[in-house]
């Protein structure tokens, strides 16, 4: 039987990908950031999930204003790195997990989540930067990946409560899959940042730390946080953090915090990294 064994939360800041790709990780600005990632890297090297469900968002790469899906799940055998305007990142092609992805898709739609089923989707920094953070620069990514793309750039985003419940439904889907498969789920994006407008550069580290405390120990407290509170308190792009609620929903009520790290700034963002395990692992 398949099992969701752990969850990872991480910001997916493009500058991190650029630092990896251009060998800047030992520069003074970046050293503390990449050092802070080390324990998570070690953890995943030991844990070796077979499949990572990566909850991320597209940033005008695969999708455009022509069609914006609230939740899109990737069922393809592979996903190519997207050209975001600099040429595609030179990272391995992302291998999908079509059979499990279809199993999850069917289960989610029967559980009344209105998924978009996607077979053609170049993946941008939202998905590849978290892989770089956790796995560094391998020849091939050491896991299969199921991309789960969430709309966070068009208002209105899905509610935190919907995201949390989607996580629960994903867990149920995984646990009804007959093959022995170790699944980890990544929530990506956040924490506080605002890229746009006169308020660009906004950071609210205090809010983020409290939010992380609650995410780990009392997610019910934050799942009804309103869109306007996220926009106001964590910046217009901070609302990405709702994607961590999907990850959290897929885990036990009581989880073990394996690792947590935050750092400010990474580019224009309060960087956050979190590793959670279900207690019975």
């Amino acid at each position: 039987m398949a099992k969701v064994i752990a969850g990872v939360g991480t910001s997916h800041i493009p500058a991190i990908g650029a630092a990896v790709d251009h060998n800047k990780t030992q520069e003074a600005y970046w050293k503390p950031v990449f050092e802070g990632m080390e324990p998570a890297k070690k953890w995943i090297e030991e844990t070796k999930p077979d499949v990572c469900i990566v909850v991320f968002n597209d940033h005008a790469s695969a999708f455009s204003l022509e069609a914006t899906s609230t939740f899109a799940i990737g069922v393809a055998p592979e996903f190519q790195p997207a050209d975001e305007g600099y040429g595609p990142r030179k990272v391995p092609v992302v291998k999908g997990s079509p059979e499990l992805a279809w199993h999850i898709t069917e289960s989610l739609i029967m559980d009344e989540f209105d998924m978009t089923i996607v077979n053609e989707m170049p993946v941008d920094h939202g998905l590849t930067v978290p892989l770089s953070i956790m796995y560094g620069q391998p020849e091939e990514w050491p896991c299969e990946v199921i991309p789960l793309c969430v709309n966070v750039i068009q208002y209105p985003q899905p509610t935190g409560n919907r995201c949390f419940n989607l996580g629960k439904a994903i867990r149920k889907a995984v646990e009804s899959y007959p093959k022995d498969t170790k699944v980890a789920i990544f929530g990506t994006g956040g924490l506080s940042h605002q890229l746009q407008g006169e308020r660009a550069g906004l950071i609210n580290a205090e809010y983020d730390e409290q939010w992380l405390d609650d995410l780990v120990a009392a997610p019910e407290k934050i799942k009804h946080t309103s869109h306007t509170e996220y926009l106001r308190e964590t910046g217009s792009e901070g609302i990405e953090a709702i994607m961590w609620l999907i990850m959290r929903g897929a885990l036990d009520e009581d989880v073990k915090q394996v690792y947590r790290f935050t750092h400010c700034p990474v580019s224009n963002t309060h960087y956050g990294l979190l590793v959670l395990e279900n207690q019975d692992e």
Partner: protein, 132 residues
Amino acid sequence: MTHQEKDYHDIPGTYVFDGSHFRKGYHLNMFCMSLNKQENRDKFRHDEEAYLAQYPLTDEQRKAILERNWLEMLRLGGNIYYTFKLAIFDGMTMQAAGAAMSNTDMTEEDFKQMMISGGRSIDGNRSKKETK
């Protein structure tokens, strides 16, 4: 288009990309997105005005694009993830774009320094009522 008052309109210096912005900025954003493709970047570099003629932009939008008026693009319906494609095209960093949108004399260096010092403070920046 009726302008409905929303509670997030009270947040200062923030352009929430809702349906009303979407409708205003559709073609502006679709132009920006086209720069994902190398062939389009080449064409735009060769003749910006000719390239823009393909898109049914308003005169104000065209002007804001040609002048790289980042804040004005947001006001005219731009979405930062789309307009940043144009900043990438120009070789700008996110900090340079942030400084330019701050609408003050901030330089890229100032902006970087602000980030290293913990970013723009939330205090005083929650509500238009505070900033006035």
